[in-house]
């Protein structure tokens, strides 16, 4: 069981940070509901509030790590130009996708949208984390602030889920691969 260095970094970017962030949205939505609109609103204690704020700042941190590693580590590998006349494009994912009409739109729409859209996620989630720190205990009575939080959280989810989908599809058709092989486990070749 081996994985290349670039594959490993892409996995950390997409699954380690991106997918974990997507999972965290359900907890954020539940916390927002419990604090504000349930019939018996949650009144968090001091230690609850610390954990609650850490949770939302943790989501913002995951979003920042995902976009920064995506834009400044994985994306340069993805968009690298192949040498003139290159036939094997497997090390140049963007060129590989654009080499055939069957896959070019994965780049033209998928990557072109993902690379910009994803930045709405850390921006909106940083705002959400900050607002939770300031207003968490007042949300029951402040509908306008609650609406702001719901809207920003929905924006953060959209800006995480859509790039996540395109990232997974792009990596199916043109994996970002290369660098040193990392051996995770040794095995034996066999028929069954």
């Amino acid at each position: 069981m081996e994985i290349t260095f670039r594959d490993a970094v892409t996995v950390i970017h997409g699954i380690g940070f991106g997918a974990l962030l997507l999972l965290a949205f359900s907890g954020a939505a539940a916390a927002l509901y419990a604090l504000s609109t349930s019939s018996t609103p949650w009144r968090p204690s001091g230690s609850d509030l610390i954990l609650l704020r850490a949770y939302f700042w943790g989501m913002a941190l995951l979003a920042w790590l995902a976009v920064l590693i995506g834009a400044y580590v994985v994306y340069p590998w993805y968009r690298a130009h192949p040498p003139a006349g290159a036939v094997d494009l497997s090390g140049f994912p963007k060129a590989l996708l654009m080499s055939t009409p069957a896959t070019s739109q994965w780049h033209d729409i998928g990557m072109e949208w993902k690379e910009h859209l994803a930045w709405f996620s850390p921006i909106s989630l940083t705002a959400v984390a900050w607002l939770m720190g300031r207003y968490a205990t007042a949300l029951k009575d402040m509908k306008s602030v609650r609406n702001v939080l719901v809207g920003l959280l929905a924006l953060g989810f959209f800006a995480t889920a859509v790039p996540g989908f395109f990232g997974a599809m792009l990596n199916k058709y043109a994996p970002v691969r290369g660098g040193a092989n990392i051996v995770l486990m040794r095995g034996e070749a066999h028929d069954k």
Binding site: Y72, R134, D141
Partner: protein, 111 residues
């Protein structure tokens, strides 16, 4: 003291939301400008391995944080009309999202 007197004002939330709208709009506008105008793309290419995306996102983040800082100082103790600010912010966010969507970018450029 009543509950409403103990509540924080909504000005900080308004500043936070409007700054996200401004940052999102700048992100979308620069993404379109970089796509449509080669000279802008070159100017936004502040780190070559990442290309114009580096300048687009850095500019959007700077505008977002600067707007957040300034608006927070102006509004943090005030109670504001959140319908108006929410509507303006939502319009800017939607515009920013649309401007990053490649088919919409192409439509605006007549491609």
């Amino acid at each position: 003291m009543t509950n409403s007197e103990m509540q924080p004002t909504n000005g900080a939330a308004a500043a936070t939301l409007l700054s996200v709208g401004l940052g999102g709009l700048v992100l979308g506008a620069l993404a379109l400008a970089g796509d449509a105008i080669p000279a802008v793309a070159k100017a936004l290419n502040i780190w070559n391995p990442t290309g114009p995306l580096s300048g687009v996102t850095l500019a959007a983040i700077v505008v977002w944080l600067a707007a957040w800082l300034v608006l927070s100082r102006l509004w943090s103790t005030r109670t504001l009309d959140m319908r108006l600010i929410g509507g303006v912010s939502a319009a800017m966010i939607v515009a920013g999202l649309l401007l990053t969507f490649p088919p919409f970018m192409d439509l605006l450029q007549g491609k």
